[in-house]
Protein backbone atom coordinates (compact mmCIF):
# COMPACT_ATOMS: atom_id res chain seq x y z
CA UNK A 1 0.00 0.00 0.00
CA UNK A 2 1.42 3.41 -0.95
CA UNK A 3 0.14 6.51 0.80
CA UNK A 4 3.17 8.59 -0.05
CA UNK A 5 2.33 12.17 -1.18
CA UNK A 6 4.32 11.73 -4.37
CA UNK A 7 2.58 8.49 -5.37
CA UNK A 8 5.90 6.80 -6.10
CA UNK A 9 6.00 3.29 -7.44
CA UNK A 10 6.59 0.37 -5.10
CA UNK A 11 10.18 0.19 -3.87
CA UNK A 12 12.58 -2.70 -4.47
CA UNK A 13 12.51 -5.63 -2.00
CA UNK A 14 14.63 -4.88 1.01
CA UNK A 15 16.26 -8.26 1.47
CA UNK A 16 16.46 -7.52 5.21
CA UNK A 17 14.67 -10.65 6.38
CA UNK A 18 17.53 -11.50 8.76
CA UNK A 19 16.97 -8.38 10.91
CA UNK A 20 13.51 -9.44 12.19
CA UNK A 21 14.64 -9.78 15.83
CA UNK A 22 15.81 -6.17 16.20
CA UNK A 23 13.27 -4.80 13.80
CA UNK A 24 10.33 -6.07 15.82
CA UNK A 25 11.81 -4.91 19.15
CA UNK A 26 13.02 -1.47 18.10
CA UNK A 27 10.29 -0.59 15.62
CA UNK A 28 12.82 -0.39 12.79
CA UNK A 29 10.07 -1.06 10.26
CA UNK A 30 9.24 2.62 10.65
CA UNK A 31 12.41 3.31 8.68
CA UNK A 32 11.18 1.28 5.73
CA UNK A 33 9.49 4.01 3.79
CA UNK A 34 10.14 5.09 0.21
CA UNK A 35 12.15 8.18 -0.66
CA UNK A 36 12.86 9.59 -4.15
CA UNK A 37 16.00 8.04 -5.56
CA UNK A 38 17.57 11.45 -6.25
CA UNK A 39 17.37 12.23 -2.53
CA UNK A 40 20.25 9.82 -1.98
CA UNK A 41 22.65 12.38 -3.48
CA UNK A 42 24.96 14.61 -1.47
CA UNK A 43 22.76 17.70 -1.70
CA UNK A 44 19.94 15.89 0.02
CA UNK A 45 22.27 14.50 2.69
CA UNK A 46 23.35 17.87 4.09
CA UNK A 47 20.74 17.71 6.83
CA UNK A 48 22.11 14.34 7.94
CA UNK A 49 25.64 15.79 7.83
CA UNK A 50 24.50 18.58 10.14
CA UNK A 51 23.00 16.04 12.50
CA UNK A 52 26.25 14.05 12.60
CA UNK A 53 28.14 17.22 13.57
CA UNK A 54 25.58 17.83 16.32
CA UNK A 55 26.13 14.32 17.70
CA UNK A 56 29.91 14.92 17.77
CA UNK A 57 29.29 18.22 19.59
CA UNK A 58 27.06 16.59 22.20
CA UNK A 59 29.50 13.75 22.91
CA UNK A 60 32.59 15.96 23.10
CA UNK A 61 30.68 18.66 24.94
CA UNK A 62 29.60 16.18 27.60
CA UNK A 63 33.24 15.25 28.17
CA UNK A 64 34.41 18.88 28.25
CA UNK A 65 31.72 19.76 30.79
CA UNK A 66 33.32 17.32 33.25
CA UNK A 67 36.39 19.54 33.51
CA UNK A 68 35.09 23.04 32.81
CA UNK A 69 34.54 25.42 35.72
CA UNK A 70 31.96 28.17 34.99
CA UNK A 71 33.15 30.30 37.93
CA UNK A 72 34.66 33.42 36.28
CA UNK A 73 37.74 33.27 38.48
CA UNK A 74 38.42 29.66 37.44
CA UNK A 75 37.02 29.35 33.91
CA UNK A 76 40.17 30.25 31.99
CA UNK A 77 42.34 27.99 34.16
CA UNK A 78 39.91 25.13 33.67
CA UNK A 79 40.22 25.50 29.88
CA UNK A 80 44.01 25.41 30.19
CA UNK A 81 43.57 22.31 32.35
CA UNK A 82 41.38 20.74 29.66
CA UNK A 83 44.05 21.40 27.03
CA UNK A 84 47.07 20.32 29.06
CA UNK A 85 46.00 17.80 31.67
CA UNK A 86 42.48 16.44 31.29
CA UNK A 87 42.46 12.96 29.72
CA UNK A 88 41.37 13.36 26.08
CA UNK A 89 40.69 17.00 26.93
CA UNK A 90 42.60 18.59 24.07
CA UNK A 91 41.25 16.04 21.57
CA UNK A 92 37.68 16.62 22.73
CA UNK A 93 38.07 20.39 22.64
CA UNK A 94 39.50 20.39 19.13
CA UNK A 95 36.83 17.99 17.88
CA UNK A 96 34.24 20.24 19.50
CA UNK A 97 35.63 23.35 17.83
CA UNK A 98 35.92 21.86 14.35
CA UNK A 99 32.56 20.06 14.55
CA UNK A 100 31.01 23.44 15.32
CA UNK A 101 32.75 25.05 12.35
CA UNK A 102 31.81 22.25 9.97
CA UNK A 103 28.24 22.28 11.31
CA UNK A 104 27.85 25.96 10.44
CA UNK A 105 29.00 25.20 6.89
CA UNK A 106 26.60 22.25 6.52
CA UNK A 107 23.70 24.27 7.94
CA UNK A 108 24.27 27.09 5.46
CA UNK A 109 24.62 24.56 2.62
CA UNK A 110 21.49 22.70 3.77
CA UNK A 111 19.43 25.91 3.95
CA UNK A 112 20.77 26.95 0.56
CA UNK A 113 19.90 23.58 -0.99
CA UNK A 114 16.37 23.57 0.43
CA UNK A 115 15.91 27.17 -0.71
CA UNK A 116 17.16 26.33 -4.22
CA UNK A 117 14.90 23.24 -4.45
CA UNK A 118 11.94 25.33 -3.12
CA UNK A 119 11.29 22.56 -0.62
CA UNK A 120 9.72 25.07 1.80
CA UNK A 121 6.50 25.07 -0.24
CA UNK A 122 3.26 23.38 0.86
CA UNK A 123 2.94 21.08 2.69
CA UNK A 124 6.45 21.59 4.10
CA UNK A 125 6.18 25.11 5.55
CA UNK A 126 6.34 23.89 9.16
CA UNK A 127 9.37 21.76 8.30
CA UNK A 128 11.02 24.91 6.96
CA UNK A 129 10.13 26.96 10.05
CA UNK A 130 11.39 24.19 12.34
CA UNK A 131 14.63 24.35 10.38
CA UNK A 132 14.80 28.14 10.70
CA UNK A 133 14.24 27.86 14.45
CA UNK A 134 16.99 25.23 14.57
CA UNK A 135 19.34 27.59 12.77
CA UNK A 136 18.48 30.28 15.31
CA UNK A 137 19.23 28.01 18.25
CA UNK A 138 22.48 26.87 16.65
CA UNK A 139 23.45 30.54 16.20
CA UNK A 140 22.81 31.14 19.92
CA UNK A 141 24.70 28.02 20.96
CA UNK A 142 27.70 29.11 18.86
CA UNK A 143 27.67 32.55 20.50
CA UNK A 144 27.38 31.14 24.03
CA UNK A 145 30.10 28.62 23.28
CA UNK A 146 32.61 31.28 22.33
CA UNK A 147 32.04 33.02 25.67
CA UNK A 148 32.91 29.91 27.67
CA UNK A 149 36.59 29.89 26.69
CA UNK A 150 36.80 33.05 28.81
CA UNK A 151 40.03 34.30 27.30
CA UNK A 152 40.24 37.86 25.89
CA UNK A 153 38.13 36.81 22.89
CA UNK A 154 35.57 35.04 25.06
CA UNK A 155 35.33 37.97 27.45
CA UNK A 156 34.78 40.41 24.60
CA UNK A 157 32.12 38.06 23.21
CA UNK A 158 30.45 38.17 26.64
CA UNK A 159 30.61 41.97 26.61
CA UNK A 160 28.87 42.03 23.22
CA UNK A 161 26.33 39.48 24.46
CA UNK A 162 25.52 41.67 27.46
CA UNK A 163 25.47 44.83 25.35
CA UNK A 164 22.91 43.21 23.05
CA UNK A 165 20.78 42.36 26.07
CA UNK A 166 21.03 45.94 27.38
CA UNK A 167 20.01 47.41 24.01
CA UNK A 168 16.77 45.41 23.94
CA UNK A 169 15.62 46.65 27.35
CA UNK A 170 13.24 44.37 29.25
CA UNK A 171 13.14 41.87 26.34
CA UNK A 172 16.84 41.25 26.72
CA UNK A 173 16.99 41.41 30.53
CA UNK A 174 17.60 37.66 30.72
CA UNK A 175 20.84 38.23 28.81
CA UNK A 176 22.23 40.87 31.16
CA UNK A 177 24.13 40.94 34.46
CA UNK A 178 21.08 42.55 36.02
CA UNK A 179 18.90 39.44 35.71
CA UNK A 180 20.17 38.01 38.98
CA UNK A 181 22.91 38.59 41.55
CA UNK A 182 22.84 35.03 42.85
CA UNK A 183 25.08 33.59 40.14
CA UNK A 184 27.62 34.98 37.68
CA UNK A 185 26.45 35.51 34.08
CA UNK A 186 29.12 33.11 32.85
CA UNK A 187 27.51 30.30 34.84
CA UNK A 188 24.11 31.11 33.35
CA UNK A 189 25.60 31.13 29.85
CA UNK A 190 27.19 27.76 30.60
CA UNK A 191 23.77 26.48 31.63
CA UNK A 192 22.23 27.84 28.41
CA UNK A 193 24.96 26.29 26.29
CA UNK A 194 24.84 22.83 27.91
CA UNK A 195 21.17 22.43 28.83
CA UNK A 196 18.46 24.71 27.49
CA UNK A 197 19.78 25.25 23.97
CA UNK A 198 20.74 21.59 23.29
CA UNK A 199 17.35 20.47 24.62
CA UNK A 200 15.60 22.92 22.32
CA UNK A 201 17.71 21.71 19.41
CA UNK A 202 16.92 18.06 20.13
CA UNK A 203 13.19 18.81 20.32
CA UNK A 204 13.23 20.70 17.03
CA UNK A 205 15.34 18.00 15.36
CA UNK A 206 12.70 15.49 16.43
CA UNK A 207 9.94 17.62 14.89
CA UNK A 208 12.02 18.27 11.78
CA UNK A 209 12.79 14.55 11.25
CA UNK A 210 9.18 13.54 11.90
CA UNK A 211 7.88 16.03 9.35
CA UNK A 212 10.51 15.02 6.77
CA UNK A 213 9.44 11.41 7.16
CA UNK A 214 5.71 12.05 7.14
CA UNK A 215 5.61 14.66 4.40
CA UNK A 216 8.33 13.07 2.30
CA UNK A 217 11.35 14.53 0.55
CA UNK A 218 10.62 16.75 -2.42
CA UNK A 219 12.69 14.85 -4.93
CA UNK A 220 11.91 15.04 -8.65
CA UNK A 221 12.45 11.40 -9.59
CA UNK A 222 9.42 9.06 -9.73
CA UNK A 223 11.68 6.14 -8.79
CA UNK A 224 12.20 5.43 -5.12
CA UNK A 225 14.28 3.48 -2.67
CA UNK A 226 13.63 2.46 0.89
CA UNK A 227 15.04 4.88 3.45
CA UNK A 228 16.31 1.90 5.45
CA UNK A 229 18.49 0.97 2.48
CA UNK A 230 19.72 4.56 2.17
CA UNK A 231 20.61 4.71 5.87
CA UNK A 232 23.94 2.84 5.52
CA UNK A 233 25.09 5.40 2.93
CA UNK A 234 24.16 8.24 5.25
CA UNK A 235 26.01 6.49 8.06
CA UNK A 236 29.05 6.16 5.80
CA UNK A 237 28.87 9.85 4.96
CA UNK A 238 28.62 10.64 8.65
CA UNK A 239 31.72 8.59 9.39
CA UNK A 240 33.65 10.39 6.63
CA UNK A 241 32.54 13.67 8.18
CA UNK A 242 33.87 12.53 11.55
CA UNK A 243 37.18 11.68 9.89
CA UNK A 244 37.30 15.16 8.35
CA UNK A 245 36.60 16.79 11.73
CA UNK A 246 39.20 14.58 13.42
CA UNK A 247 41.88 15.36 10.83
CA UNK A 248 41.19 19.09 11.22
CA UNK A 249 41.33 18.68 15.01
CA UNK A 250 44.73 16.98 14.78
CA UNK A 251 46.29 19.26 12.17
CA UNK A 252 44.84 22.58 13.37
CA UNK A 253 44.22 22.45 17.12
CA UNK A 254 42.28 25.39 18.49
CA UNK A 255 44.28 27.73 20.69
CA UNK A 256 43.38 29.78 23.71
CA UNK A 257 44.05 33.43 24.42
CA UNK A 258 45.36 35.01 27.59
CA UNK A 259 43.30 35.73 30.67
CA UNK A 260 40.83 38.50 29.90
CA UNK A 261 41.30 42.13 30.81
CA UNK A 262 38.03 44.05 31.03
CA UNK A 263 37.47 47.27 29.10
CA UNK A 264 39.40 46.38 25.95
CA UNK A 265 38.35 45.22 22.47
CA UNK A 266 41.40 43.80 20.77
CA UNK A 267 40.15 40.51 19.35
CA UNK A 268 37.66 39.35 16.77
CA UNK A 269 34.90 36.78 17.32
CA UNK A 270 34.52 33.21 16.09
CA UNK A 271 34.25 33.26 12.27
CA UNK A 272 30.48 32.45 11.92
CA UNK A 273 29.74 35.66 13.80
CA UNK A 274 32.14 37.88 11.84
CA UNK A 275 29.37 39.15 9.55
CA UNK A 276 27.64 40.74 12.56
CA UNK A 277 31.00 42.13 13.71
CA UNK A 278 31.47 43.72 10.28
CA UNK A 279 28.02 45.32 10.40
CA UNK A 280 28.74 46.66 13.90
CA UNK A 281 31.82 48.37 12.50
CA UNK A 282 29.66 50.17 9.95
CA UNK A 283 26.36 50.75 11.76
CA UNK A 284 27.26 50.62 15.45
CA UNK A 285 26.16 48.31 18.27
CA UNK A 286 22.51 48.17 17.16
CA UNK A 287 23.63 46.01 14.22
CA UNK A 288 24.13 43.27 16.82
CA UNK A 289 20.35 43.21 17.28
CA UNK A 290 18.87 43.95 13.88
CA UNK A 291 21.24 42.05 11.57
CA UNK A 292 20.29 38.53 12.78
CA UNK A 293 16.63 39.61 12.79
CA UNK A 294 16.86 40.70 9.14
CA UNK A 295 18.32 37.35 8.10
CA UNK A 296 15.75 35.31 10.01
CA UNK A 297 12.93 37.56 8.81
CA UNK A 298 13.96 36.78 5.23
CA UNK A 299 13.79 33.05 6.01
CA UNK A 300 10.39 33.54 7.62
CA UNK A 301 8.77 35.28 4.64
CA UNK A 302 10.16 32.97 1.94
CA UNK A 303 7.27 30.41 2.14
CA UNK A 304 4.78 33.30 2.28
CA UNK A 305 6.10 34.87 -0.90
CA UNK A 306 6.67 31.67 -2.89
CA UNK A 307 3.38 29.84 -2.54
CA UNK A 308 0.72 28.72 -4.92
CA UNK A 309 1.80 29.63 -8.45
CA UNK A 310 3.95 32.74 -8.13
CA UNK A 311 4.90 34.73 -11.18
CA UNK A 312 8.25 33.97 -12.72
CA UNK A 313 9.52 37.47 -11.90
CA UNK A 314 8.67 36.93 -8.22
CA UNK A 315 10.56 33.67 -8.22
CA UNK A 316 13.59 35.16 -9.95
CA UNK A 317 13.59 38.10 -7.52
CA UNK A 318 13.39 35.80 -4.51
CA UNK A 319 16.21 33.58 -5.71
CA UNK A 320 18.35 36.59 -6.57
CA UNK A 321 17.72 38.04 -3.11
CA UNK A 322 18.65 34.74 -1.47
CA UNK A 323 21.84 34.43 -3.48
CA UNK A 324 22.71 38.06 -2.79
CA UNK A 325 22.18 37.56 0.95
CA UNK A 326 24.58 34.61 0.95
CA UNK A 327 27.20 36.52 -1.05
CA UNK A 328 26.90 39.57 1.21
CA UNK A 329 27.24 37.48 4.37
CA UNK A 330 30.31 35.69 3.00
CA UNK A 331 31.83 39.00 1.90
CA UNK A 332 31.22 40.49 5.35
CA UNK A 333 32.87 37.47 7.02
CA UNK A 334 35.87 37.81 4.72
CA UNK A 335 36.14 41.57 5.19
CA UNK A 336 35.92 41.39 8.98
CA UNK A 337 38.36 38.49 9.05
CA UNK A 338 40.98 40.41 7.08
CA UNK A 339 40.46 43.77 8.82
CA UNK A 340 42.09 44.72 12.11
CA UNK A 341 39.99 44.50 15.31
CA UNK A 342 37.73 47.48 15.96
CA UNK A 343 36.14 49.10 18.99
CA UNK A 344 32.37 48.63 19.05
CA UNK A 345 31.21 48.80 22.64
CA UNK A 346 29.99 52.28 23.42
CA UNK A 347 29.35 53.13 19.72
Amino acid sequence: MNDHPHGHSEAEPTGNEGSGFWSSRLGLDALKYPIPIDSTTLGYSLGAATFVCFVILVLTGFWLAQFYNPNPSAAHDSVVYIITRAPFGDIARNLHYWAASVMVVTIVAHIGWVFYRRAYRAPREITWYAGVALAGLVFLIVVTGTVLRYDQEGFEALAHFLAGGELTGQLGRFFTDGFTISTPTLARIFSLHTSLLPLGIVALIGLHFWLVKELGISGASPRSVMFSNHLPRIAGLGLFLFVLVAVLAILAPEGLGHRPVAGYEITKPFWPVLWIYALESVFGMWALVWSPLVVFLFFAVVPLIDRGSPQRTTLVALRTLGAALLVVLLALVLWAGLSPPQQHLGM
Partner: protein, 185 residues
Protein backbone atom coordinates in the same frame (compact mmCIF):
# COMPACT_ATOMS: atom_id res chain seq x y z
CA UNK B 1 32.80 -24.03 44.77
CA UNK B 2 30.41 -22.34 47.21
CA UNK B 3 33.06 -22.49 49.96
CA UNK B 4 35.62 -20.81 47.69
CA UNK B 5 33.18 -18.05 46.80
CA UNK B 6 32.40 -17.50 50.49
CA UNK B 7 36.09 -17.26 51.42
CA UNK B 8 36.69 -14.82 48.59
CA UNK B 9 33.75 -12.67 49.68
CA UNK B 10 34.99 -12.60 53.28
CA UNK B 11 38.47 -11.60 52.10
CA UNK B 12 37.06 -8.77 49.98
CA UNK B 13 34.94 -7.49 52.84
CA UNK B 14 37.88 -7.69 55.26
CA UNK B 15 40.09 -5.74 52.84
CA UNK B 16 37.43 -3.09 52.39
CA UNK B 17 36.89 -2.84 56.13
CA UNK B 18 40.62 -2.52 56.79
CA UNK B 19 40.79 0.27 54.22
CA UNK B 20 37.85 2.04 55.84
CA UNK B 21 39.48 1.94 59.29
CA UNK B 22 42.82 3.45 58.06
CA UNK B 23 41.75 7.02 58.99
CA UNK B 24 38.60 9.09 59.54
CA UNK B 25 37.26 11.56 56.99
CA UNK B 26 37.00 14.98 58.61
CA UNK B 27 35.71 18.47 57.91
CA UNK B 28 37.68 21.69 57.51
CA UNK B 29 36.00 25.05 57.91
CA UNK B 30 37.55 28.32 56.77
CA UNK B 31 36.94 31.64 58.51
CA UNK B 32 36.24 33.06 55.05
CA UNK B 33 35.75 31.64 51.56
CA UNK B 34 38.01 34.36 50.16
CA UNK B 35 41.52 35.38 51.12
CA UNK B 36 44.14 37.62 49.61
CA UNK B 37 47.53 36.23 48.64
CA UNK B 38 49.96 36.96 51.46
CA UNK B 39 47.25 37.11 54.13
CA UNK B 40 46.50 34.67 56.94
CA UNK B 41 43.32 32.67 57.26
CA UNK B 42 41.93 30.77 60.23
CA UNK B 43 41.30 27.13 59.47
CA UNK B 44 39.35 24.83 61.77
CA UNK B 45 39.25 21.06 61.48
CA UNK B 46 37.11 18.45 63.20
CA UNK B 47 36.15 14.78 63.07
CA UNK B 48 39.61 13.62 62.04
CA UNK B 49 41.60 10.80 63.58
CA UNK B 50 43.18 11.88 66.87
CA UNK B 51 46.83 12.93 67.12
CA UNK B 52 47.35 12.89 63.36
CA UNK B 53 49.64 15.17 61.34
CA UNK B 54 47.74 16.51 58.32
CA UNK B 55 49.29 18.29 55.36
CA UNK B 56 47.35 21.26 53.98
CA UNK B 57 47.59 21.58 50.21
CA UNK B 58 46.24 24.42 48.06
CA UNK B 59 45.05 22.78 44.84
CA UNK B 60 44.08 24.73 41.72
CA UNK B 61 43.26 23.67 38.15
CA UNK B 62 46.86 24.12 37.09
CA UNK B 63 48.95 24.06 40.23
CA UNK B 64 49.22 22.49 43.63
CA UNK B 65 51.36 23.54 46.58
CA UNK B 66 51.64 22.52 50.19
CA UNK B 67 51.12 25.60 52.33
CA UNK B 68 51.01 24.26 55.88
CA UNK B 69 50.24 21.47 58.26
CA UNK B 70 48.12 20.81 61.33
CA UNK B 71 48.20 18.28 64.14
CA UNK B 72 44.86 17.07 65.41
CA UNK B 73 44.19 16.89 69.14
CA UNK B 74 42.74 14.00 71.11
CA UNK B 75 39.25 14.86 69.82
CA UNK B 76 40.41 14.87 66.19
CA UNK B 77 40.22 18.64 65.77
CA UNK B 78 42.55 21.57 65.20
CA UNK B 79 42.54 25.37 64.81
CA UNK B 80 45.41 27.10 63.02
CA UNK B 81 46.27 30.41 61.37
CA UNK B 82 47.31 29.49 57.82
CA UNK B 83 49.37 31.86 55.68
CA UNK B 84 48.37 32.06 51.99
CA UNK B 85 51.69 32.54 50.17
CA UNK B 86 52.11 35.90 48.45
CA UNK B 87 52.96 34.25 45.12
CA UNK B 88 49.65 32.41 44.72
CA UNK B 89 47.84 33.44 41.54
CA UNK B 90 44.30 34.79 42.04
CA UNK B 91 41.68 32.18 41.29
CA UNK B 92 39.52 29.39 42.62
CA UNK B 93 41.23 26.69 44.69
CA UNK B 94 40.48 23.84 47.05
CA UNK B 95 42.26 23.65 50.40
CA UNK B 96 42.79 19.94 50.89
CA UNK B 97 43.76 18.12 54.08
CA UNK B 98 45.95 15.10 53.32
CA UNK B 99 46.50 12.26 55.79
CA UNK B 100 49.96 10.70 56.35
CA UNK B 101 49.11 7.87 53.94
CA UNK B 102 48.39 10.36 51.14
CA UNK B 103 44.60 10.13 51.21
CA UNK B 104 42.54 13.29 51.01
CA UNK B 105 40.45 13.47 54.16
CA UNK B 106 38.74 16.85 53.79
CA UNK B 107 38.58 19.88 51.53
CA UNK B 108 37.06 23.34 51.36
CA UNK B 109 36.69 25.82 48.51
CA UNK B 110 38.81 28.94 48.73
CA UNK B 111 38.97 31.89 46.36
CA UNK B 112 42.32 33.68 46.41
CA UNK B 113 42.41 37.36 45.52
CA UNK B 114 45.36 39.41 44.41
CA UNK B 115 47.52 40.82 47.15
CA UNK B 116 46.61 44.45 47.98
CA UNK B 117 48.92 47.30 46.84
CA UNK B 118 51.79 47.95 49.25
CA UNK B 119 52.79 51.50 50.29
CA UNK B 120 56.19 52.03 51.99
CA UNK B 121 55.93 52.85 55.72
CA UNK B 122 58.12 55.92 55.20
CA UNK B 123 55.38 57.51 53.06
CA UNK B 124 53.41 58.44 56.20
CA UNK B 125 49.93 57.64 57.49
CA UNK B 126 48.14 59.95 55.04
CA UNK B 127 49.71 58.34 51.98
CA UNK B 128 48.93 54.87 53.25
CA UNK B 129 45.29 55.78 53.82
CA UNK B 130 45.10 57.24 50.33
CA UNK B 131 46.65 54.12 48.81
CA UNK B 132 43.99 51.90 50.36
CA UNK B 133 41.33 53.32 48.04
CA UNK B 134 43.53 54.28 45.12
CA UNK B 135 43.76 52.66 41.69
CA UNK B 136 46.60 50.15 41.47
CA UNK B 137 49.96 51.50 40.35
CA UNK B 138 50.44 51.55 36.60
CA UNK B 139 53.00 48.76 36.76
CA UNK B 140 50.43 46.49 38.47
CA UNK B 141 47.73 46.97 35.76
CA UNK B 142 47.14 43.82 33.71
CA UNK B 143 48.04 44.22 30.04
CA UNK B 144 45.49 42.79 27.58
CA UNK B 145 46.75 40.55 24.83
CA UNK B 146 45.15 39.30 21.64
CA UNK B 147 47.87 36.69 21.22
CA UNK B 148 47.35 33.00 21.88
CA UNK B 149 48.84 31.40 24.96
CA UNK B 150 51.94 29.34 24.31
CA UNK B 151 50.53 26.03 25.49
CA UNK B 152 52.56 22.85 25.30
CA UNK B 153 50.27 20.15 24.04
CA UNK B 154 51.23 16.60 24.74
CA UNK B 155 48.92 13.79 23.80
CA UNK B 156 49.70 10.52 25.51
CA UNK B 157 50.41 7.36 23.59
CA UNK B 158 47.03 6.03 24.64
CA UNK B 159 45.25 9.14 23.36
CA UNK B 160 47.01 8.81 20.00
CA UNK B 161 46.07 5.13 19.90
CA UNK B 162 42.40 5.83 20.60
CA UNK B 163 42.08 8.65 18.06
CA UNK B 164 43.96 6.53 15.53
CA UNK B 165 41.57 3.62 16.04
CA UNK B 166 38.56 5.94 15.80
CA UNK B 167 39.78 7.65 12.63
CA UNK B 168 40.95 4.42 11.00
CA UNK B 169 37.83 2.55 11.99
CA UNK B 170 35.57 5.36 10.81
CA UNK B 171 37.36 5.49 7.47
CA UNK B 172 37.06 1.76 6.84
CA UNK B 173 33.48 1.54 8.10
CA UNK B 174 32.54 4.63 6.11
CA UNK B 175 33.89 3.18 2.89
CA UNK B 176 32.07 -0.09 3.51
CA UNK B 177 28.74 1.59 4.30
CA UNK B 178 28.85 4.34 1.69
CA UNK B 179 29.54 1.97 -1.18
CA UNK B 180 26.60 -0.27 -0.41
CA UNK B 181 23.94 0.02 -3.10
CA UNK B 182 20.98 2.16 -2.14
CA UNK B 183 18.56 -0.55 -3.16
CA UNK B 184 18.62 -4.32 -3.07
CA UNK B 185 19.71 -5.95 -6.33
Amino acid sequence: MNARVSVLAVMIVAMAASQARAHEKGVITLASGMAAAGSTLQVMGEKFSSSTQLRLVLRGALSEREIGSAETDAAGGFVIELEIPAGVEPGAYRLVAVAPDGDEVASADLEVEAAPAVVPESAGAGAQEQAAGAEPAASAMPIPSAEELAIERRWSGFEWFVIGVLVGGATVAGMFLYRRPAFAT
